[in-house]
Point group: C2
DNA sequence: TGCATTCGTGTGCGCCAAACACTATCCTCG
DNA sequence: CGAGGATAGTGTTTGGCGCACACGAATGCA
């Protein structure tokens, strides 16, 4: 066995390169969008090679920043794609990430011709980038149900209707307003501010801000490692109830009893 | 931006190496165990460098096979650890995997001195291997609740009590026998065989075999990509109910209505 | 001042998860 | 061969929670 951890001198040419791809999501006009850059005839995700002295997540942030100036971006590792043939130009494994940004955080699209594309109508993408987006989406949908990532898509101050729309857009279905508000209330994850949003039309809405509910407490969420690299916001749990269509039952009973 | 996907000729020396580490779990004596190999004063996970023409999951399987002969191993990518300093011997990123094997599938421990260690009492481990195991554990616990991975830890034929013990051992708490059996029954994921297990003591138990319940149907589980690389068994969903201690509520309502 | 638009609020019902205890079957040993 | 030990197998009740559902309030504008 070649011991990964105790290797001697570097092989003179180790022919596997390591890259990062980042699927950056935001919500514009009540629709989920991904950030893409042009690549010849098709489009591609922001990407880059990992530098020798650079952690993976920083490489991902760098790739993102090169395409769109943004700060305070929530970002998480997704999956590492390592098919031998995924890149016809040699062996490049890709540590894929996905990121969530509030529209108001994105300052500008740096690289010319970079664009937001609605996920409902994506253009042709190079390599396996479509697959990366698809996977990021299912991950995002799942994560939405047991964490508070959703808030990453909103500005600091937001209305409950805006929050609800985030959930509706990502989950792809409408939610009941009263049930939604009751849950948010019970969870205690938002606090009203003194401000109101004066909308163009209709009654003004109360503005809220996000407030972490539980202490991190090392429950060991699905991504404890990634979490350690993230802003603390991510840690608070909205609470997991994952069910699918039809009867779905877990073998394991719910903890905590009645 | 350096375009990962359209790079020119190889850099003559690209100094990042890519390895795999594998946390292999099994259940022995009603306790969860991990397979470890000796490494100087400490212990380590089965690991290896990824070969230039080798997919990541195959590298992981190879690392596993070198330590313990086994076939039909369920294996999934876990996370890619890329801290710059994680390996004092140079930049090696590790695509960590975890695997589940039934004890009867492990033929033998190939490398001398490789051993099963109970997760309750692990020895000193090198590098970040302890962290990998911890993360694999939380992933396993979560996955247990919305997939049928648990069956990977059992032989082809098993009793319901054995199945229940798998869940109890991994979740670290006891389950109610009747509730457990009712759920398994409702899910329709096991079928009784004509055989019984003659135990040393007590009433003989009916033997069952695992049966995928739902068609794959591309619901988009948490790991659709990994799933595509897996035996079909993994796909059937036991059904997700993730709850934690205390009141936990999801913002998103349950689909399918009442 | 009326009309359009968005905000904000409570109840009732049905389902599902959890709690809970006893009989059946086999083996062993005296 | 009978008693005891061990494990297998089996239903009912109850309470909490998720879902469905409709209308008055506040504002801007014509």
């Amino acid at each position: 066995m070649v011991d990964t951890n105790q290797t001697g001198p570097l092989p003179s040419r180790y022919p596997i390169r390591v890259g990062v791809d980042v699927a950056v999501f935001t919500i514009r006009d009540s629709a989920l969008h991904v950030l893409l850059a042009p690549a010849d005839v098709a489009w591609r995700l922001p990407s880059d090679l990992v530098r020798p002295d650079e952690p993976l997540d920083l490489a991902a942030r760098r790739a993102l920043t090169e395409v769109a100036g943004a700060s305070d971006v929530w970002l998480e590792q997704l999956f590492t794609f390592g098919d031998v043939q995924r890149n016809p130009d040699g062996r490049v494994i890709s540590v894929a990430h996905y990121a969530l940004v509030a529209v108001d955080v994105v300052r500008e699209l740096g690289e010319r011709d970079a664009q937001w594309w609605p996920i409902a109508a994506l253009p042709q993408l190079i390599l396996d980038h479509r697959r990366i987006i698809d996977y990021a989406l299912t991950r995002l949908r799942n994560k939405l149900e047991y964490t508070t990532v959703g808030f990453q898509l909103l500005p600091q101050r937001f209305t409950l209707s805006e929050l609800q729309r985030v959930y509706e857009v990502i989950l792809g279905r409408t939610l009941d307003k009263r049930n939604f508000r009751r849950k948010v209330d019970v969870l205690g994850i938002v606090k009203p501010t003194r401000e109101q949003r004066v909308s163009v039309t209709g009654r003004p809405a109360q503005l809220y801000r996000f407030v972490a509910a539980e202490a991190p407490e090392a429950i060991g969420g699905p991504e404890p490692l990634a979490a350690a690299q993230q802003p603390s916001v991510q840690i608070a749990r909205i609470g997991p109830v994952l069910r699918r269509r039809g009867r779905v039952i877990s073998i394991a009973p719910v903890e905590g009893g009645r």
